[in-house]
């Protein structure tokens, strides 16, 4: 079974530039998550999709971050414009929709460096 795919794996940009990350979840997984993991911290949930609808985006900085999941499969996360503090690893995860009992499978992440 193929895992969660993410691209690119690494990205270096200057502040105020824009960047986009792509995620392809495990086939059949209805729920998709984007996390931000800053160095020395645990992953923090940014947004959760159930199919193509948003379930939780309470921790997404909506003035600069946006995410979409067209057709309920692939998802993109965009930052526009980037700030220095956005330097982090952005993780995508997916799971089957089993209320409270499912396991999240994580992708390899995209390491973003903002200069």
């Amino acid at each position: 079974e193929a895992g969660v795919a993410q691209s690119p794996r690494y990205k270096i940009i200057e502040k105020r530039q824009s960047v986009a990350f792509w995620c392809n979840p495990i086939s059949g997984h209805a729920t998709l998550y984007w996390y931000q993991q800053i160095l020395g911290q645990g992953p923090k949930l940014l947004i959760q999709f159930q199919n193509n609808g948003v379930v939780d985006d309470s921790q997404l900085p909506k003035d600069r971050f946006s995410a979409e999941r067209l057709k309920g499969v692939d998802s993109t996360l965009k930052i526009q414009p980037a700030k220095l503090e956005d330097s982090a690893v952005y993780l995508c995860a997916s799971s089957l929709w089993e209320q409270g009992r499912d396991e999240q499978f994580f992708g390899p992440g995209t390491r973003l460096t903002v200069l």
Binding site: T31, G40, Q41, G42, L45, D56, G100, D102, Q104
Partner: protein
């Protein structure tokens, strides 16, 4: 909102030593508890999970964890570590039957030969 505390940020052990990593959470209701591991250069993967039933949970690679509800704890243990256990370990909690995972800050484990 729930939170998770991992008390040990860096742990160094010799091979064959016993391991216990602490994890405490703050939430008064029903919780699901997880330990994830991230080996160097690899992505996060599930080590073990607790949903209900026996509070002693066994996971992969000889790891186990015990849920002590009265102490709001879910400590990870392994009787004898190996060099290949060198990794970062994250405790995580889901509260109230929802799907939102809250992670601790992680513990870097280094096992020396």
């Amino acid at each position: 909102a729930q939170s998770v505390s991992q008390h040990n940020h860096h742990v160094i052990l010799s091979e064959a030593a016993s391991l216990e990593l602490g994890c405490n959470y703050s939430y008064g209701g029903t919780v699901n508890l997880f330990w994830y591991v991230q080996y160097p250069g690899q992505h996060l993967q599930l080590l073990l999970k607790y949903f209900s039933g026996d509070p002693l949970v066994k996971g992969i690679k000889g790891f186990e964890a015990e849920f002590i509800k009265s102490k709001f704890s879910f400590n990870l243990r392994k009787p004898s570590v190996q060099w290949s256990d060198t990794a970062e370990y994250f405790c995580a909690v889901k509260a109230g039957g929802g799907n939102k995972l809250t992670f601790g800050t992680g513990t870097q484990l280094k096992v020396e030969l």
